[in-house]
């Protein structure tokens, strides 16, 4: 199963459309799309709006690939579970977000090796095909359960010394 997650704040119909088209070429593999404000009838994917946190975790666990907007909630969930993820940032000029901070943060996280990023629909398609053809690896967490200890210690140190 492929899980597409777009957050709850604004529509991301460009991603829903490309996934609906691509799903027809995936030999029947199930594609679940979490999205709000979908303004057209999808043919090949199941769209759900809000997902309860417990259910959300279950779907992430079951997915073999996650396609996500550049929202930190989805990215962190995928990385802690060692899931394959492709990030596609929202673009302000297409009305998908108020600014381009998703592109900025995606670029920097990609440069640090945290996540692969697709900057348009064509890149997304080719990255999905490549990732699905890769051998299944055992899933191991790509990041730990908590923030870097230097950040945790700095905050705690400040609080205890005040």
């Amino acid at each position: 199963m492929i899980f597409v997650t777009t957050g709850t704040q604004a529509p991301f119909n460009r991603l829903v459309k490309v996934m609906d088209a691509l799903a027809a070429e995936l030999n029947g593999e199930e594609v679940i799309v979490q999205a709000s404000g979908v303004n057209f009838e999808t043919k090949n994917v199941k769209v759900v709006g809000f997902i309860h946190p417990v259910e959300y975790n279950r779907i992430i666990n079951e997915a073999r690939l996650i396609i996500s907007h550049a929202g930190m909630g989805s990215i962190v969930s995928a990385l802690t579970k060692g899931k394959k993820i492709i990030v596609i940032p929202r673009k302000a000029e297409l009305g998908e977000h108020r600014d381009n901070h998703q592109i900025d943060s995606a670029k920097k996280m990609e440069a640090l090796g945290y996540v692969p990023v697709a900057y348009d629909e064509e890149q997304l398609k080719s990255k999905i095909i490549t990732m699905l053809m890769q051998e299944e690896k055992t899933e191991s967490a790509l990041i730990g359960e908590f923030a870097s200890s230097s950040l945790v210690n700095s905050i705690r140190g400040f609080m205890l010394s005040s």
């Binding site: 901070h101 900025d104 923030a147 705690r156 609080m159």
Partner: protein
């Protein structure tokens, strides 16, 4: 020591949860914009408040009143937030009440501080960025929530 931790649902809340070891042994009170999130911090006091972005002034004022009441009632030693606008409101309420305040700017703000972060910078006791190139005299970089 009592700490009031505020974060909107979604990424902001996920970032807050990854900072939990910083608060071990402290009495935590949580505030978020989705009642379903109470289950992720079971055993702690949890307030659910309405959501608003910073463009909706009337809603923001209403949320300020709601969080002011919570901060006044709880009287924590610290108010801490990972964003977004409701967290900023809580820090402002804390400042007015003489409580120490900490803002952790989201890792999603990678090219510049978030707008809420810029406002927070004017009055908070401590402000963190998660990107080394955004750090400055009053903007601390000590790592990020991912690693």
């Amino acid at each position: 020591m009592k700490v009031l931790a505020v974060a909107s649902k979604g990424g902001h809340w996920v970032e807050l949860l990854r900072l939990l070891p910083a608060f071990s042994g402290m009495e935590m009170v949580y505030v978020s914009t989705d009642p379903n999130l109470a289950s992720t911090v079971e055993g702690n006091k949890f307030y659910s408040i309405p959501d608003a972005n910073r463009w909706n002034k009337f809603k923001l004022i209403r949320i300020f009143m709601i969080v002011f009441k919570i901060v006044y009632k709880e009287r924590p030693k610290f108010v801490i937030s990972t964003g977004a606008a409701p967290g900023l409101m809580a820090l402002m309420a804390g400042k007015i009440l003489g409580i120490k305040t900490i803002w952790i700017d989201s890792i999603a703000s990678a090219e510049k501080l978030s707008l809420s972060g810029k406002i927070a910078l004017r009055f908070v006791d401590r402000l963190y960025t998660q990107w080394p190139d955004l750090s400055g005299p009053k903007i601390i970089y000590a790592g990020n929530i991912l690693l």
